[in-house]
């Protein structure tokens, strides 16, 4: 493997990892703070990708579609929390599993009703529609670099939100002791609704970002769902920092697994997960 190929693989691994981080961070927030196991998280990613496809067509510009899609995702998150999720906080995790499984079926079928079962594509938006030449034969699309940059910016933003703001303080407190936070006069129901909407928006945003780089197809949510769970377990449940490290680890392991060990490439991420959990049963940054 020469230097340029290696560089491309590293970039691919980092970019995949950062995208996984966006999806997984929402999942780990929803689990860590609200204690909800959300199987429908992959569907939110899929919804994001289809929103990007639909809104880019309807509004004519990807950069206009992006904020519109995020707004819709936030509304969806708030509606779902209010209608369904809030009834499950006091109950066994397994009912959340069952309900969100039902949501997967509903979303998958709505997708089929509204958009059909064909594979769609979103064209790479304009100023980023070119590639950087690395050698005579190899080049790297700028859009993928921009994706990574956006993901990194969001990671930093989330860190600041959680660690530095008053809202972040309330969120952290809510994850430790729900009743105490409520007793201090904070509307925990509203807080949970915000966290859920934030998680949904993060997953949908990841789907929107990914749409131009890959294709938009049925079942794309299920593909990322399991791998995001792997990420949050490796990182330690509820830990945003852990999700970032684990997502990069999994992204690189997946890409290099395909290059170096093509025979068992499907297994590599699960081998990494098993190894990490044998070494640290609570994940890399898990506490509880």
């Amino acid at each position: 493997m020469d230097a340029a190929t290696l560089l491309i693989q590293v970039l691919n691994g980092l970019q995949y990892g950062l995208l996984l981080f966006l999806i997984a961070s929402g999942l780990t927030l929803i689990f860590g703070i609200m204690g909800v196991i959300n199987l429908a998280h992959g569907s939110f990613y899929m919804i994001g990708a289809y929103l990007a496809f639909w809104l880019t067509g309807a509004l004519g510009n990807f950069w206009v579609a992006l904020p519109a899609g995020i707004a819709l995702a936030v509304v969806l998150g708030i509606a779902l929390e209010w209608l369904l999720i809030r009834h499950l906080y006091q109950r066994d995790h397994l009912y959340q599993v069952l309900l969100t499984y039902g949501l997967i079926l509903v979303f998958e079928e709505l997708r089929s009703l509204l958009f059909g079962d064909d594979v769609h594509g979103v064209t790479v938006p304009d100023p980023l529609n070119f590639s950087i030449r690395l050698t005579d034969t190899l080049s790297y699309p700028v859009y993928r670099l921009a994706m990574s940059a956006i993901c990194l910016a969001l990671a930093a933003g989330m860190y600041l939100l959680i660690a530095r703001t008053r809202l972040g303080m309330m969120i952290r407190a809510g994850s430790v002791n729900r009743d105490m936070v409520q007793a201090l006069g904070i509307n925990i129901g509203l807080l949970y609704r915000l966290v859920f909407a934030l998680g949904v928006a993060l997953a949908a945003f990841a789907g929107m970002l990914a749409a131009p780089a890959s294709s938009v197809f049925p079942g794309m949510g299920n593909q990322v769902l399991i791998i995001s769970f792997v990420v949050i377990v490796i990182g330690g449940l509820g830990s945003i920092k852990g999700a970032l490290v684990a997502a990069l680890l999994i992204g690189l392991a997946d890409v290099f697994g395909q290059v170096l060990l093509p025979q068992i490439s499907g297994m590599t991420v699960y081998l990494v997960m098993a190894a990490v959990l044998v070494w640290r049963p609570r994940g890399l940054f898990g506490s509880a």
Binding site: V97, L98, G102, L105, V106, E108, S112, G266, M267, A274
Partner: protein
């Protein structure tokens, strides 16, 4: 007391209906009913872990799929007998459960869910990418196993009706076996572990061994279901090992009511019958099925089984 009277009546009525069903059911429906009973076995075996031992496995299809593949591979050279392939396939599943269980039972809670998933996914990808197992297309079963008693062939597994009744007998047998196991001191220990493992340990029970034994038994019974699936479908493919299959079984258990044994079987029946009904009615059956599942969570907090056990649930009042 309500439930203890109602449940046997309900089970007897179901059994009678299943016994008489072939009088009215066409071949397609017989095959579908056979598949439902196989999934009922699979779901009951998972309930032993989820509902009674407090071990939520998202990798149960690993043992189901391996036993099915074991039959297909043993049958590659020609006709084989059920008498040795069934125990052998279940033994494969049990051994796999012993090895996996010894590792995964060191974790608990959500981590247990994820580690069981990891092992099942590793096996899934291994089987999918291996030519020996037929890759992603899967492998056909050359011929259905034979079942002979001293030269007499009472059951012909090529026959849909015979397969139906064999599966029915085995489903009832698994239900009775699990009832028996759960009523035994061993079963009481499992329930104790579910409710409070540290207390069981301080009472002097080697809880790890009990959990491992439950894991192996559940794995072997999942293997029985996988074996029957290979016989029924005549083919095994990697999807039978995938997380979707494990998830489906988990949904059946929760939908029917965990820790009730009959509930998960009911859950398997309800999910698959509704899937069939909705898919006859509309192309968009998943929408209705999803809405049904959500409605059950919201309006029947203890699963479908609670329809038949409401009074007891209200009296016990534990989660």
């Amino acid at each position: 007391m309500d439930r203890s009277r109602l449940l046997p009546v309900l089970l007897a009525a179901t059994l009678l209906a299943l016994l008489l069903f072939p009088l009215v059911g066409e071949k397609f429906y017989l095959q579908y009913a056979t598949k439902i009973m196989i999934m009922a076995i699979f779901a009951m075996s998972l309930d032993l872990l989820v509902g009674y031992t407090g071990l939520v496995s998202l990798g149960h299809a690993l043992f189901y799929g391996l036993a099915g593949y074991a039959l297909v591979l043993m049958g590659e050279r020609g006709e084989v007998s059920l008498w040795w392939t069934l125990p052998a396939s279940m033994a494969v599943a049990a051994l796999a459960a012993l090895a996996v269980g010894a590792l995964v039972l060191r974790t608990s809670g959500v981590y247990f869910i994820m580690v069981t998933l990891a092992f099942a996914q590793m096996t899934y990808f291994f089987v999918r990418d291996s030519a020996y197992f037929g890759g992603s297309d899967g492998k056909y079963l050359n011929a259905k196993p034979t079942l002979s008693l001293l030269g007499w062939q009472p059951v012909d597994l090529e026959n849909t009706l015979h397969r139906y009744y064999l599966t029915l007998v085995l489903t009832v047998a698994v239900y009775l076996l699990l009832r028996r196991v759960l009523g035994s001191p061993f079963g009481r220990v499992l329930v104790g572990i579910r409710d409070n493992e540290p207390r069981m340990r301080s009472l002097g029970f080697a809880t790890f061994r009990y959990k491992l034994a439950a894991f192996v038994l559940a794995g072997a019974l999942a293997g029985l279901a996988g074996y029957l699936t290979a016989v029924q479908d005549g083919i095994m493919n990697p999807e039978q090992l995938g997380w979707n299959r494990s998830g489906e079984a988990l949904v059946m258990v929760i939908l029917g009511g965990m820790g009730t044994l009959a509930g998960p079987a009911l859950g398997a029946g309800a999910l698959m019958v509704l899937e069939l009904l909705f898919s006859i009615w509309t192309k968009y059956w998943q929408l209705l099925l999803g809405a049904f599942v959500i409605a059950v969570v919201l309006f029947l907090p203890r699963g479908l089984g609670s329809l038949f056990a409401r009074r007891r649930a209200a009296r016990d009042g534990h989660g």
